[in-house]
Amino acid sequence: MQKIYPNAEAALEGLLFDGMTIAAGGFGLCGIPERLIDAIQASGVKDLTIASNNAGIDNEGLGKLLRTRQVKKMISSYVGENKEFERQFLAKELEVEFCPQGTLAERMRAGGAGIPGFYTKTGVGTQVAEGKEVKQFDGEDYILERGIRADLSIVKGWKADESGNLLFRKTARNFNLPAATCGKTCIAEVEEIVPVGSLDPDCIHLPSIYVNRLILGAPYDKKIEFRTVREREAA
């Protein structure tokens, strides 16, 4: 069973269709599956529903798919810093389901874990609760949220072994892990692919069972949204 594909276009072969749901990893521009987003843009697939914490920024990340009008609906917790998004949203060309960040992560985790719904205190008494079942546990209100099952997951890892075991790096793990588990098919792009046996089995972040297809995406030109530094103290 060969999971490694030569590039993003090849890895997406046979998986894309109009109106599909895609779960994407990343937080802001940190840990986003850049190669797969580019290939999805090039494919021209449209009417996408995308579950992703953010929607990229203008012409970066998922912002690229917004620019080409390939997205019908976003399920996100925060969509600031994106003018094209704002324009489409205000013109009602783009549907947005705002989902609290933790609820979105848990919806992906639950979907991947075979849990169709769960009760959470997050959003009780707010707009988020509208139309959702409310149930009391131990005298407190909770709302029912649905797990997300996507047609496809696209994630970005740091290192993979040839079997698809994955490691992430620092805060680039974020939504990549829960997103990877909730798709019928998951494609991971990574910076390095190493032979099996090279990674410590005790330290795998995402076991290979969740990764169906794998590509080497390097070299990456990782973008920084807000570069903040401090002055070096005088010696």
């Binding site: 620092k170 920084i224 570069r227």
Partner: protein, 218 residues
């Protein structure tokens, strides 16, 4: 004629310093974007406070030096940061499990409006661009103690601590303490009213009363 410089109320930095007085040794703390981020600069010497970043990190270090910037290492405000020897990284589901599960001791957040019943509104203004709630709804639902740090009145002078929020809520009956540039309000539990417990330098009870429409104890 000499001009008298008015030193009334707290600056943004002083509000953050006041919030830092609520830190305790061993606390795990989540700081929101804006004034709350400044709280990190006021952790008392000798006290261990671990900062959580909801994008998947415990143990936030200071901003990096210019040659230490790492695109894979950012905080929830998407600013580059650094790690500490005790830092751990995890995914977003794990991050919010610790938030929702009541494992975080304290969160300091910004606010647009707080009601006298402890409701918070801080995520959207209808009719304007909505950016989204991010992790704020999860934080107010799950963290043990919630402090809101905000200006006492909005730019047009209207009170922000009010009887009922007019903006869409982030959470209902979730706030424990309010720190403004003029005063501090606190309540011991979620069924008690807020009480004015502290005035900023040069601020009178009358002024606070005049700029607050919420009911509170004195």
């Amino acid at each position: 004629m000499a001009t008298v410089t008015e030193t009334k109320g707290w600056t943004r930095n002083e509000m953050a310093a006041r919030a830092a007085k609520e830190l305790r040794d061993g606390f795990y703390v989540n700081l929101g974007i804006g004034i709350p981020t400044l709280v990190a600069n006021h952790v008392p010497a000798g006290m261990t406070v671990t900062l959580q970043s909801e994008n998947g990190m415990l143990g936030i270090g200071p901003f990096p030096y210019d040659d230490g910037v790492d695109p894979d290492l950012i905080n929830a405000g998407k600013q580059t940061i650094s790690q500490l020897p005790q830092t751990s990284y995890f995914d977003s589901a794990q991050s919010f499990a610790m938030i929702r599960g009541g494992h975080i001791d304290l969160a300091v957040l910004g606010g647009m409006e707080v009601s006298e019943k402890g409701d918070l509104a801080n995520w959207m203004v209808p009719g304007k661009m909505i950016k989204g709630m991010g992790g704020a709804m999860d934080l107010v639902a799950g963290v043990k103690k919630i402090i809101v740090v905000m200006e006492h009145v909005s730019k047009d002078g209207s009170p922000k601590f009010i009887p009922e929020c007019t903006l869409p809520l982030t959470g209902r009956n979730v706030i424990d303490m309010i720190i403004t540039d003029l005063a501090v309000f606190q309540r011991p539990d979620h069924s008690s009213p807020f009480k004015l417990i502290e005035l900023a330098p040069g601020v009178t009870r009358e002024e606070v009363r005049q700029k607050t429409t919420a009911h509170y104890a004195e």
